[in-house]
């Protein structure tokens, strides 16, 4: 009997412990991880001065597109700065995409499109190729195709055949031809169009579908979550985990999961600014790059975290906004290079942030949770 009682007790204890650990673990997982350690690349580190418009991580290499050329960082060091003197198509670099199949790096500049391969640039411009316009805002690789967002529509280059295709207001539902960003999904490709909302291109059936602001050009939202928050879309990001896309606009942030829209404004969320330069989403994270700081939404906990630097002290501020709206603030010794954020990229758990005054590299510190 004693043995049986002991066994029952042991079983109950193990069940209790299991449940405790499960819920305790869940509780820990619900807290977003915080980036409390920042390393900045500025002109003091040999980095070009001024804006960093984009950043792309390719294993140990980080490519940063700046106002003054393309920067290659390798193993944490600025290895090379490419400018038109090195063969780059333009000085201002707006986008970088790495073709992981071929190793080629595609660079969108304000002087055309460049391919960096084997240490040599090859350029494509409006005059010398099928490129629709030399103002190239976005590039993305989809298998053998390269998609290019330009100020005069979207291009598709078949890298095997060299054939170019242009999509613009003549052959696709472009309300405006000014394409800013591209995000490649498994079945669709999404384009952020300045003044034209989000355009979706279906890869299997080759049709276009526009997503526009239901209230047109109005800069207020009549009904919450009625649709895309505004037609001036600066970027779009497909999240393969949640099967939804996120669209950043100059008037707030939107997401669409195929059935429902969700819109986010400063007045009803932890978003730091409605002027959102770009958005990147992975897993349960959504990163909004705004003119006032970097805001992250953890969709699992519906918690917002905003990173901002203190221009005077150089220290950082992290503002955490849980669903109940009770904000808390943390201070960090290091911070982002600037609060005007253009773009982010992920390298494993690390985050790279393109700002108006340099590039920032954020790392998690162990135990650095809320």
């Amino acid at each position: 009997m004693t043995t049986i009682a002991f066994r029952r007790f042991a079983f109950s204890l193990s069940m209790f412990l299991s449940c405790f650990l499960f819920f305790a673990g869940s509780g820990v997982a619900q807290q977003p991880e915080l980036y409390t350690k920042w390393t900045n690349y500025t002109s003091a580190d040999g980095f070009p001065p001024g804006q960093v418009f984009c950043v792309t991580v390719d294993g140990p290499r980080v490519w940063a597109g700046t106002r003054h050329g393309l920067v290659l960082i390798e193993n944490g060091k600025v290895k090379r700065i490419f400018t038109p003197r090195d063969g780059l198509a333009g000085q201002a670099v707006m986008s970088v995409a790495v073709d992981h199949q071929t190793g080629d790096v595609w660079v969108g500049t304000f002087g055309g499109l460049s391919r960096y391969s084997g240490g040599v640039f090859k350029n494509y411009t409006n005059l010398t190729s099928g490129l629709a316009n030399d103002l190239v805002y976005g590039v993305a690789v989809q298998g053998k195709f390269l998609w290019v967002a330009t100020a005069a529509g979207v291009n598709r280059l078949d890298t095997n055949t060299g054939d170019w295709k242009i999509y613009n207001e003549f052959n696709a539902p472009f309300n405006e031809p000014w394409a800013y960003g591209i995000s490649v999904g498994k079945k669709n490709i999404y384009f952020a169009v300045w003044g034209g909302g989000v355009l979706m291109y279906n890869l299997a059936h080759h049709y276009w579908k526009p997503f526009m602001d239901p209230d047109g050009e109005m800069e207020i939202v009549l009904y919450r979550n009625q649709g895309l928050i505004h037609n001036i879309v600066s970027a779009v990001s497909w999240n393969s985990s949640t099967h939804s896309f996120w669209a950043s606009t100059y008037f707030g942030l939107s997401s669409y999961d195929g059935r429902n829209w969700h819109n986010y404004l400063t007045k009803d969320s932890g978003l730091i600014s409605n002027f959102v330069n770009s958005v990147s989403s992975r897993g349960n994270q959504v990163w909004a790059c705004t003119q006032k700081g970097l805001s992250e939404l953890d969709t699992k906990t519906n918690t917002w975290v905003t990173y901002r630097p203190n221009a005077k002290t150089g220290k950082g501020t992290i503002v955490i906004t849980p669903p109940d709206g009770k904000q808390r603030t943390l201070s960090t010794a290091t911070s982002l290079a600037n609060n005007y954020i253009y773009a982010v990229a992920f390298g494993g758990k690390d985050i790279w942030v393109a700002t108006a005054q340099g590039l920032s590299h954020g790392t998690l510190e162990s135990g650095a949770t809320r």
Binding site: G103, D104, G118, G119, L127, T128, G130, T161, K165, F170
Partner: protein, 660 residues
């Protein structure tokens, strides 16, 4: 019973008819079989005959070689017969003929030697063959116009250079599927796996597209086999036509040897009489240890294999005999193999001062320091391989259908293996032989094939052909593919036919020699007329146009501008580029592209067939891409009315032109 008297008239008629037929046969035979050759006996051999016609497929044209690991068999890819021949190296006999079909261009063994792979340039495929049974195992799809190929060290991946696609297919040999295509330079033709297996080197036949009035820059593309990405695009300045690649062992410097041609194309061609105009040599490249290193880590040197007073045109194949520190380079236009002492070459490069190294690419007095022997081969030697034991080297004599066997210890040609091609030489074949033969030019500097590699392609260079002043009348070379029926010739249209183009004019202005005899000229022209464009990969096999191509076709044949105005007949695309005459009007037109350095302003309208193969464009090659023709060089709509077109329409037009 038949009345034989009534039948008799009929029999007479039949007899007359039979007699007439017999007489016709005799006359036809007499015409068919011409007199014994006298003019080209030196080249053809005494007592040989020239036949009016024999299908090209009857000839073999060995162009690529590979040896079995035990040295027992020599595999010979024959581009004209579409076969791979298996030669028993002990008996020097052909023991098997494997029908590949199409145009076999290159051949490589798997690392185990159990199979070999043959590229079929015509069919965009690679054929895998069992090296024991010589049975075809499978056909693998590649990119456009596959030529050189190699496996990785493990034999799991095949790399294929696609000449028309300007890329390299990376193929998983387990599944036979193409994993990816890596962009190469222009017209990548031959590849080589490095000794340590870390890299695949790709030699590009044509130079990069650049400014027409600057010396060419060619590219060696380097693929890192671990990552399967391009890690370096090594510039080789001043040269074109990179061919086969050999890698010397570390003990001999570890250099890559790549035959090339080094032209002085921007100097007036009249200077060929002074020599040193068309030179031929090889790049000697020291690769870095790290396969991921960029192009600046590759040390590029260039040396010439010519002598001061005689040239060894159109270097093609290269092989090394590691044990003896020798390398062999075939001069396909001179019918010679140059034997190189690689130790002497290494010493020369190691001891030369920087100033001397800069001079080397243009020095005609350096070959004597490292070329130890010149061996006569059959006509048009292409590929060369050395047997595993280093005892023999084998040279593919493309225009003789033979293999020259070199006794390496003795450094002499010890035997010639007949591959069984026809004894008869057709007029077309004779012309082809002449096409590759540099002995008709001053000091053997060039053959027709020197400027028209790959059997008629354009070298893509601008040349100063006739005006003796520097920088005047520079014109781009044009392809010979599909040239029949497109007279007149030359950009100024001065030559009404090919006989004029390639007869005295060529002799006086280009070859600076006696040139071809009338008989030889007829043969050469017959060959040139036989050259056909390769299958156009931009056009679907069923000939159907895509939507974009169809839209471009409508623009090509449009009669009104976008605003509805009627386009004058002369300003329509199809007026000058008529589809009924190979998309050329065959007259001269002034489209406003003449420069102050041109002495004429009207130029021959080029045929558009195969236009995608022909960059750069316009008479002087000023337009590297098709787009340039209209975006930069048609500001006043003199080259057809195009200024009303938007970018989408221009793209459509270009996509259509690429299908022609």
């Amino acid at each position: 019973m038949k009345d034989w008297r009534r039948l008799r008239p009929v029999n007479r008629a039949v007899n007359w008819l039979v007699g007439a037929i017999l007489l016709g046969i005799v006359v036809a035979t007499a015409l068919y079989l011409e007199n014994p050759c006298t003019q080209v006996e030196a080249a053809q051999g005494p007592g040989s005959y020239e036949w009016l016609y024999l299908p090209r497929s009857r000839y073999l044209s060995p162009v690529a070689l590979a040896m079995s690991h035990d040295g027992r068999h020599l595999y010979v890819a024959c581009e004209d017969s579409g076969q791979v021949l298996v030669v028993d190296t002990q008996t020097d006999k052909v023991v098997d003929r494997i029908p590949i079909g199409g145009i076999p261009k290159a051949i490589t063994l798997s690392p185990t030697g159990a199979t070999f792979y043959v590229s079929d340039e015509e069919d965009d495929s690679v054929v895998e063959v069992d090296a024991k049974t010589f049975r075809i195992l499978r056909t693998i799809h590649t990119g456009w116009g596959p030529a050189g190929l190699t496996t990785n060290l493990q034999g799991t991946v095949l790399y294929v250079a696609n000449t028309l696609g300007n890329d390299v297919s990376v193929i998983d040999l387990k599944t036979g599927r193409e994993l990816k295509r890596l962009s190469a330079g222009r017209f990548p033709e031959y590849v080589k796996l490095s000794r340590d297996g870390s890299r695949v080197y790709v030699a590009n036949l044509l130079a990069r597209l650049g400014a027409y009035d600057k010396p060419p820059v060619s590219e060696l593309t380097v693929i890192d086999t671990a990552e399967e990405i391009v890690t370096a695009r090594v510039s080789i300045p001043g040269v074109i036509q990179l061919r086969h690649i050999a890698e010397l062992p570390a003990s001999a410097g570890g250099y890559l040897l790549i035959p090339f041609m080094r032209p002085k194309n921007l100097n007036p061609l009249v200077q060929i009489a002074q020599g040193w105009y068309m030179t031929h040599g090889m790049a000697v490249i020291a690769p870095p240890a790290d396969p991921a290193a960029g192009p600046s880590s590759y040390k590029v040197r260039e040396v010439l294999l010519d002598n001061i007073d005689h040239y060894y045109a159109d270097n093609f194949g290269v092989a090394d005999d590691s044990a003896e520190h020798l390398a062999l380079v075939t001069a396909s236009g001179a019918n010679v193999v140059s034997i190189i002492d690689t130790s002497a070459l290494d010493r020369l490069l190691a001891t030369a001062s920087p100033a001397r190294l800069r001079e080397l690419p243009d020095r005609l007095d350096s070959a004597r320091k490292f070329v130890v022997r010149r061996l006569k081969t059959g006509r048009n030697p292409t590929d060369v391989v050395v047997s595993p034991d280093g005892r023999y080297a084998y040279v593919a004599d493309r225009m003789d259908d033979t293999i020259s066997v070199i006794d390496m210890p003795a450094l002499r040609v010890s035997a010639t293996i007949s591959l069984g091609g026809p004894k008869m030489v057709s007029r077309e074949r004779r012309g082809e032989q002449l096409f590759f033969d540099a002995r008709f030019s001053h000091e053997g500097q060039m053959a027709c094939a020197s400027c028209h590699p790959h059997e008629g392609l354009s070298d893509g260079l601008a040349w100063s052909l006739e005006t003796p002043q520097l920088g005047r009348d520079i014109v781009i070379n044009r392809t010979l593919y599909g040239i029949d029926g497109t007279s007149p010739f030359k950009w100024n249209g001065m030559n009404p036919n090919l006989e004029t183009q390639d007869g005295p004019r060529t002799a006086h202005y280009i070859f600076r020699s006696q040139g071809f005899s009338e008989r030889e000229l007829n043969a050469l022209v017959t060959y040139l007329r036989s050259l056909r464009l390769p299958r156009n990969p931009h056009l679907a096999k069923d000939g159907q146009l895509t939507a974009i191509q169809a839209a471009g076709k409508a623009i090509f044949f449009r009669t009104r501008t976008n605003s509805g105005e009627v386009i004058p007949l002369r300003d329509r695309c199809y007026y000058c580029h008529s589809p009924y005459t190979h998309y050329t009007s065959r007259v001269l037109e002034d489209i406003g592209t003449a420069t102050p350095y041109d002495t004429v302003h009207s130029f021959d309208v080029p045929q558009l067939e195969g236009v995608s193969l022909k960059p750069p464009y316009l008479h002087n090659g000023e337009a590297p891409e098709l787009e340039d023709i209209w975006t930069k060089f048609n500001p006043k709509d003199r080259h057809g009315i195009t200024s009303d077109m938007n970018k989408v329409q221009l793209n459509e037009l270009i996509e259509y032109l690429k299908t022609l």
